[in-house]
Symmetry: C2
Subunit: 226 residues, 2 copies
Amino acid sequence: MTNYPNIAVDVVLFSYFEKALNVLLIQRNIAPFIGQYALPGVFLKEDEMADNAALRALKDETNVQIAYLEQLYTITDLHRDPRQRIISISYFGLVNQNDFTLSDGNEDASFVEWVNVNEIPTRLAFDHGEILEMALTRLRTKVQYEPIGFELLPEWFTLTELYDMYRIILQKEFDRRNFTRKVMSYGLIKKTEHKTGGHVGRKGQLYEFDLERYTELAKTGVYFEI
Amino acid sequence: MTNYPNIAVDVVLFSYFEKALNVLLIQRNIAPFIGQYALPGVFLKEDEMADNAALRALKDETNVQIAYLEQLYTITDLHRDPRQRIISISYFGLVNQNDFTLSDGNEDASFVEWVNVNEIPTRLAFDHGEILEMALTRLRTKVQYEPIGFELLPEWFTLTELYDMYRIILQKEFDRRNFTRKVMSYGLIKKTEHKTGGHVGRKGQLYEFDLERYTELAKTGVYFEI
DNA sequence: TCAAAAGTGTTCCGAATACACCCATGA
DNA sequence: TCATGGGTGTATTCGGAACACTTTTGA
């Protein structure tokens, strides 16, 4: 099936590891904006839904399961691409902090990289800087009323890891004891039988997200709040 | 300029009057879905931004200022239109409760109507029922943390009118004194020198939305909450 | 004078906040 | 034994929720 030459699907994919929030960027090796960083993207195919195009854009670049994906915004500005008018349907996604590998690039990209959101190049290709800004705002807002933050962590995590992640995403300091109490009060995470190890210091209790409990709560419209 | 035959812009426009939340629907007089209710919509032109297309879709049907307009969602399902694949970029808008007239219809629509959201026909054309559902959810959510509700009221309004509107939009009963206190505490509305009249009972103090105060608050990131 | 709409204060309870020390472990 | 990371309780404050009667006006 052929592509729509006028509709692109671009994705802002976030990951969290080593106490940093990262976004997946590629370096373009074709015109326009050759050499500049950009978001992964593809042209929509004529028989393809945009969600699938977003997944396809990522499949070229990473080998991981996408834990969360939602539509972000559709930009219809006339001159955002110097070649011709291209409409961008943008997506916002999260991946689990599991081991995963990035590919070496493809025909569009000389390489693919996780970039710390605090170290994003000032000029990205097209209007991708604005799209990224929008995605960051959405992530920071949404993480506060829906438990999507868990999607960025591995299956088992300590309360400290969860706490650190929220601090880093929200760029805000808050009290660890109050955070713990609040998180536990929702009953959305449950103890596992496992503990951390392989590091100095006391072993940590590992928890997991209780999906069952969440879907139950979601039905009655109760919202997670940090 | 020609249209993109594969991209539609559809709008869910809300109004509030006579203690009811209403949505603008047209009755189609062309195929497909002839005779059924649908959302106002147009095909995107090749040199037109989607926001402008949304305004154009409304200009055919109403003679009022659109007080608020934001993008809702882009639907890319393959078979939502029986003729061919058409992508819909949907918008969500609000109009002031001023005097305004609806037009008599145009080539696509035999008539245009404000329909109470509690009396929406069960089957709308295309997937417009789902779009409308999404818009209602967005309105009900957003009205609780951004002061967009004011866009539905005339310039001057009483606290009772404001209170009734929130009750009706949110379909929830709450205490009028608590509501008043909360609304006043933001300083977002200010007394005018005018009072209601022409009805039985005590004259009511008329208030207006303080836009200046709002933009000031918005800068520092303070949010209105009901 | 009565019906209709407008206006207004206080108490109570629960949640958010502020705050600091002990525990377990491996090097 | 010490450096590192994990774990936990209480007092105070503030905001949300519950609750009912008086005032003004025009018919």
